[in-house]
């Protein structure tokens, strides 16, 4: 008796929703970043669940790809955050409005 796929998908949806809400409401750029990771991993979970349910490997491959991209993104993103922090003495996302009209 295994766990039904709907449970995995529900968990993924909940995690994704949490991540989205986090991105929308948080001001701390680090937290915002973590929320993005949360969304990515929610998507990964859904992919693996489908992969297992359908008995194909495509989802696993996709997950590896997403994880690689997420790692690269984290490296670049954190580098940028450090640079911005050095220049502006803040990591409040609402203060980064240089492009504003």
């Amino acid at each position: 008796m295994s766990v039904p796929i709907s449970a995995y998908l529900t968990l993924a949806a909940v995690l994704f929703g949490l991540g989205t809400v986090g991105v929308l409401i948080t001001r701390n750029i680090i937290v915002l970043f973590m929320c993005i990771e949360l969304m990515l991993n929610a998507a990964n979970m859904a992919l693996i669940a489908f992969s297992r349910a359908l008995n194909v490997m495509d989802g696993h491959v996709m997950v590896f790809l997403v994880m690689t991209v997420a790692a690269a993104e984290a490296a670049v993103g954190l580098g940028m955050i450090i640079t911005i922090h050095r220049n502006r003495e803040t990591i409040n996302i609402d203060r980064f409005d240089l492009m504003k009209w």
Partner: protein, 645 residues
Amino acid sequence: MADYLFLIPLLPLIGFLINGLLIGRLPKPVISLVGCLSVGGALLLALLAFFELKGLPVEARVMQQVLFAWIPSGSFHVDIAFLLDPLSAVMILVVTGVGFLIHVYSVGYMHHDEGYGRYFAYLNLFTFSMLMLVLANNFLLMFVGWEGVGLCSYLLIGFWFEKKSASDAGKKAFIVNRIGDFGFLLGMFIIFWQVGSLDFATVMEKAPTAFSFGGGLITAACLLLFVGAIGKSAQIPLFVWLPDAMEGPTPVSALIHAATMVTAGVYMVVRSNVLYMMAPDALLVVAIIGAATALFAATIGLVQNDIKRVLAYSTVSQLGYMFLACGVAAFSAGIFHLMTHAFFKALLFLGAGSVIHAMSGEQDIRKMGGLRKYIRITYLTFLLATLAIAGIPGMSGFFSKDEILWQAFSSGHGSPIFWAIGLVTALLTTFYMFRLVYLTFHGTERMDTETKHHLHESPRSMTVPLMILGVLSVVGGWVGLPAVFGATNYFEHWLDPVTAKGSELVSESVHASGGGNAGLEMTLMFVTVLLVIGAWMLARYMYVRHTETATRVREKAGGLYTVLLNKYYIDEIYGFLIVRPFVGLSTFFWKIIDVLVIDGFVNGLARLGALSSDLLRFVQTGRVRSYATLFAAGVVLVIGFLILR
């Protein structure tokens, strides 16, 4: 045999390139040498070509040299090619001969001018263009020369461009000429449309079959070509630029505005004589405009006080004479007068230049007088030219003018009215020319002491051309002795090959009445000469013997005198009727159409863009979270749409 023809225009072009490219780097003697030698070389070649042509049998007197195909485009084919026939032979001799003398004269006249190199470069360019004009074997290449001389005329009239009046006069000449050129172009279009070629020989060959005799198209083509001639040769109503052209250096007036360029219109009409013979209505228009201009300009010349302006109006008047000759189908008489006129009018202008030189730049004849004691050579040569233009028997002008008068009277296209106008013009010409001579060279000395102190004869380089032209003014007419004297009119027979084809077309009507009555011709000639001498004596009476008569006449004539002095207010009338409305229209287009409508449309578009961006930019908050919210909302919307669809 004609493979050196292209060298004739090429030499002055080389001169122009040397002088023009090395402006300010050559010493004056080199400039003069290049300038004069290039034209002198062209003169020698022209003489060589002339004698080679003369050596050919009469029917074969045509030399053509095709250099290369210029515009080979389907059925439209134009060559760079030169044509030497009796007509262009006369023209190249006049252009290079008189041109060479004027180049030599310029060496002395322009010696102190700062733009010496520029001057000779322009002058050589002019000679090149003029030779292209007369040597071209098709209408289009002729048009190239036609425009070239117009350009040089503009450049040389405005030679002293620091002077506002000079640069204005240059612009005026150029713009007025453009009106004429427009007609020339349209005329060419009609010819090409109907004949399918612009080559002179082909056009003249095919014209009798391509056009119907006296039909609307041929008349229109001739009239349009004549519009070009009107502009170039300063006839009514486009003559206004020529008197103003006197702002240029005097040798330029002599070369361009007396001897060569302004006669291009006459040359073109004679060159297309076959076309004109086929359009009697156009011929009549040519004759009427010529006669009217001759008389009209002569009356203005009566009262002008600027020595060069008198000569300018005289030139306009004499050009009218030439067109009168063409209009009565006496084409050879027109070219004959063109040639003698080139001699004596160039001499008159150069003489006037010598006077101005002696008078330290003064041009007003009211401030001259008694100059004959100081500048003898100038005086004598000027007098010779005056006798020639007045038509005193034996001088060149007598033969050419008499030929025109007789043809105007007797030719099938002529009428006694044309003869009478010609005669009156001849009398007026005699009167104003002797008035000019007497006021300038005779009577009391009216210049101030400073000028008087500086009076001197011009240098040798100026007086020698004067003397040569003086001789030519006398003997130049002897090549065309009237048949009635029992002599052979060599000149007319020389041009026969050119004019024959045209006269064949209408031989029945013209030759029946022409050529006849020797007794009548002698009588008319005698009357003319008597009246001319009468006019001379009248001028002598008024300006030498009883100078107060002139003042009395002037006071009596009152209003008429003022009208003449102000040139019938033609410039003012044109200013009011044409220039002012045109400026008004241009201002309307500028202020209303251009600034308001066109600029308004373009600027309005830009402003619309700016306005909409002003509104839309509020969407771009620059805040990451609002972007993310919109993004999420968008995703929800899309997915919702996909699910609920």
